[in-house]
């Protein structure tokens, strides 16, 4: 078929999409493909689009290769689709860009009806080959994936040596698997060379654009950050997409937190009976002076809200990791969103406010998670790290993790026995330093002094129960003071802005960051220059108000329906809603620069129109 139709041409700038069935072990092969390209010095982003089910359903893996270093999901159709799932063949064919390529298993021939004329079909009888090559059905299954990777090497001009070294690293521990895997790669490689004109017009060429970056998922980074941050107590309950945060924390602890002398654990991890218990444990530990956290997603945040209110009001340090997914309710557990902003910022009944951190890549997951434990101790309140499924579960090319060995944990205002002896008037809630943060004591510190009764009820400065209006108001105002004071501790925003501000300002956070550089470039192509402001923490500070004041058009870009961050900005900074246009993307897939730019342009022209009219 694929005679005189024009072909996609691209070097180091295209998308390869893999269509597989989940539970068939395609993940590691696809991962090998992405890593190989990185090892050739070319930036890559990889998005796993998987079902909320364990086995037998369609799953996709979208690899964007970009020497321009644009690492958001590109969106749109792909130049090359590896279609290994009969179930989804129809939509997979539709997902090929005109002039693009479909690599499929030709053991069974494609049903011809409605086949597109504008794409190239690369048939390879992979199943047949596997049945010939392997007896064990499990192997027939697994090596399929390795074989098509071999074929891709030939088609896309991937250095075979790179793949071999990858296999070597991957099976360091199971050496006997190396040869069969390389053999499978070769099968595919040779088949492709023999039957297709390799390489294709879309291909890769070695570059040196990776520097010291690493490829890792955010949850691994978060778990590791908790280890470095000194977390010792974890209460958790499994929920996608947060589960691997704790699993990674646990596996690093098994390596790094075992007392060499006794073989005993320098940490305690409990799979709780539910999320209420999970955060209850973290709070109990925080109250008792250990660094503690829990990790959860959507529904867990709802269940934790009563306890979050207690921790806010009783002023107990605790770290909560929220790996956001598509809500409401159970929603789409395997899709990404940034839709817990409001439910976290104001979690719990009554006048409650919480500190939020917004990492945008794994390096920052590591850094902000570690920092969260300092902040929790310094501010004696919950710190919620707002990750999401895209960040947490997809591999990202990110700066390597960094740790300064001179850095010291900030344990905040905790009184020692000595301190207590030196003080003659201890009151747990006395605002000694006038910053709203009071001195606390830990159980067991002093035989005579410093003991107090922690409660979720109203109390005076000496921690005594009170229903007196003045005491109550006094305490509530101090909590507000503390919250205002907090912003000075929090990570600064990332601002890109010329000497004279551009007309347009983009406010964004978290994984939306990956699409911003590209968006700015695309806007420039349209003659629109834009400054950018990346929020890294809540509460905000004057920086953000200034940015808003300095720009005529502000776009708040976020991945939820209700423009929750915009609400937070307006509410906390008294910013004019008229000035803040929401660009919301909430279909569960990571946001793209195309979507951002299209919507900004649309809105601007609409704007102009109305101006013309009125």
């Amino acid at each position: 078929m694929s005679h005189s139709i024009n072909a996609c041409q691209a070097i180091n700038e295209f998308v390869v999409r893999f269509a597989n069935t989940n539970g068939t072990g395609s993940a590691s092969a696809n991962n090998m493909f992405a890593k190989a390209i990185i090892r050739m010095g070319i930036p890559v982003s990889a998005k796993n689009i998987f079902p909320s089910n364990i086995q037998g359903m369609p799953t996709w893996y979208e690899v964007r290769i970009s020497e321009k270093n644009y690492l958001a999901r590109r969106g749109g159709n792909s130049e090359l689709v590896v279609a290994m799932n009969a179930q989804s063949m129809r939509e997979d064919i539709d997902s090929v860009a005109p002039g693009g390529y479909l690599l499929y298993d030709s053991s069974k021939s494609l049903s011809t009806e409605g086949l597109r004329e504008d794409i190239h079909y690369l048939g390879m009888p992979i199943s047949a080959i596997c049945i010939k090559e392997y007896q064990d059905p499990r192997q027939q299954q697994l090596f399929k994936n390795v074989i098509y990777v071999g074929a891709l090497a030939a088609l896309l001009n991937i250095e075979f040596e790179v793949l071999k070294s990858l296999v070597g690293d991957q099976f360091k521990s199971k050496k006997k698997l190396i040869t069969p895997n390389i053999y499978a790669l070769e099968i595919g490689y040779q088949f492709a060379n023999r039957h297709f004109t390799c390489p294709l017009p879309i291909k890769v060429e070695r570059r040196d654009l990776i520097n010291n970056r690493i490829m890792v998922d955010g949850n691994t980074a978060t778990g590791l950050g908790a280890v470095y941050g000194g977390a010792t107590v974890v209460g958790w309950y499994p929920i996608t997409p947060s589960t691997s945060v704790v699993e990674k924390f646990a596996s690093y602890c098994e390596r790094l937190r075992i007392d060499p002398a006794t073989g005993k654990k320098n940490y305690a991890l409990v799979q709780a009976e539910d999320e209420l218990a999970a955060i209850g444990m973290a709070i109990g530990a925080g109250w008792n002076g250990a660094r503690a956290f829990t990790a959860t997603s959507g529904p867990g945040i709802s269940l934790m809200s009563e306890f979050l209110g207690l921790a806010y009001f009783a002023e107990i340090p605790v770290v909560v990791i929220d790996v956001q997914r598509a809500g409401p309710s159970t929603g789409m557990p395997t899709r990404t969103q940034q839709s817990d902003i409001l439910s976290c910022a104001y979690a719990s009944h009554g006048d409650t406010k919480h500190i939020l951190l917004f990492p945008s890549d794994p390096a920052e997951c590591f850094e902000l998670t570690a920092m969260a434990f300092d902040l929790a101790d310094q501010l004696q309140t919950p710190i919620i790290v707002m990750s999401d499924l895209d960040l947490g579960m997809n591999d990202h090319l990110t700066e390597e993790f960094a740790w300064d060995d001179n850095r010291k944990y900030q344990l905040g205002k905790v009184l020692s026995q000595q301190n207590l002896d030196d003080i003659d008037d201890f009151g747990r809630y006395l605002d000694v330093d006038q910053d709203g943060v009071c001195y606390r004591t830990l159980p067991g510190t002093h035989p005579e002094k410093g003991a107090f009764f922690t409660r979720g009820t109203s109390r005076n400065r000496y921690a005594g129960y009170t229903e007196k209006s003045d005491d109550y108001v006094d305490n509530m105002q101090r909590l507000n003071k503390k919250f205002a004071h907090a912003s000075s501790f929090l990570p600064q925003a990332e601002v890109n802005q010329g000497k004279k501000p551009a007309k347009i300002g983009l406010i964004y956070f978290g994984t939306t960051s990956h699409a911003i550089e590209e968006s700015v470039a695309q806007l420039k192509e349209q003659g629109l220059s834009a400054d950018t402001f990346r929020i890294r923490a809540f509460p905000f500070n004057h920086q953000l108000s200034d940015f808003i004041n300095n720009h005529d058009h502000i776009y708040v870009i976020e991945q939820n329906r209700d423009a929750q961050m915009r609400t937070l900005i307006i509410n906390e900074l008294n910013a004019s809603p008229m000035k803040l246009t929401a660009i919301v993307h909430y279909d569960g897939l990571p946001i793209t620069s195309r979507y951002i730019v299209d919507n900004i342009v649309l809105e601007l022209s609409a704007n102009l129109a109305t101006q013309k009219v009125g």
Binding site: A268, P443, E448, F453, T457
Partner: protein, 350 residues
Amino acid sequence: MSYIKSKFHHPRLPVNDLGLTYRDYEGALSTLCAGCGHDAITSALVQACHELSLPPHQVAKMSGIGCSSKAPNYYLNKAHGFNSVHGRMPSVTTGANLANKDLTYIAMSGDGDSASIGLGQFAHVVRRQLDMVYIVANNGVYGLTKGQLAATADKGVTNKAGELSLFTDIDLCVMALQLGATFVARSFSGDKKQLVPLLKAAISHQGFAYIDIISPCVTFNNHSTSTRSYDYVHEHITTAAIADFVPVKKEITSDCAEGACEDICLHDGSLMRIRKLESDYETQNPMKAITDIEAHKKKGEILTGLMYLKPTASHFHDINNTADTPLNKLSQDVLCPGSRVLSSINDSFR
């Protein structure tokens, strides 16, 4: 209004091994109703801790929400306390215990707090064998919310407001036995002679200790038709076995008839002397304990005393193999792997 009582010490007050009088174990003035059973538990606890010479500040007082959960404010004012949220004390205590295994965790809960909203957490903290004393002040009602029936109320009784208890009661002793608690007892706030030694035993027990203390609510569940009133309990109480706690030094005088006594040696060399009041009583048979409890219920009797004791119990930290240093005392250099390790971790992601 929980101010501290006069610090005046009567010169002749008896002191314990730490040179402390029971006054040193008291708390704020109670704001509970005059005659509330919970206040009797408070004074029993004060006495027990004093007699055990516990350093007060080495105790953590945990509770949920309820009249009973307020009680920790009324004893051991030299100890930190945490009056958490309704029904969730077990998880908070678990976290606190994970953070510092060296304190003594004495938790006070109510039957609403533990048998209704907290039942799941109750069951799971038992299962995890946390080293703690879990007290439920069992009054058959929700005191603080003015007398609704608790799930522990006997079927067929009516509360003061006249509401009928439609369903079989949940017996937390039975559930604790069932889920592997290593110390289970039931007592009565009106019987200090029985309660104090049981509390001392529970506190001395290493592992999870549950005590269900029938503690009449004089305001909402002390009426004539109640089965948790002082009168009713006094009339229907029977005791399987009394436990006397014998500290290490104190040498044992054999003051009890053949077979009627069983001495159980505890971890620290101290003794539990069990006086069997029912001939066929067995200290270490949970299934039998359950059967006995049910049997007495059928007879309209309330079985109290020590139900079960596993002297050589293991608890969470043994099982988890936690470090000997409390986790909240580990320093940064123990906790933080540092930059060298990190760079090798980085390499694993290239």
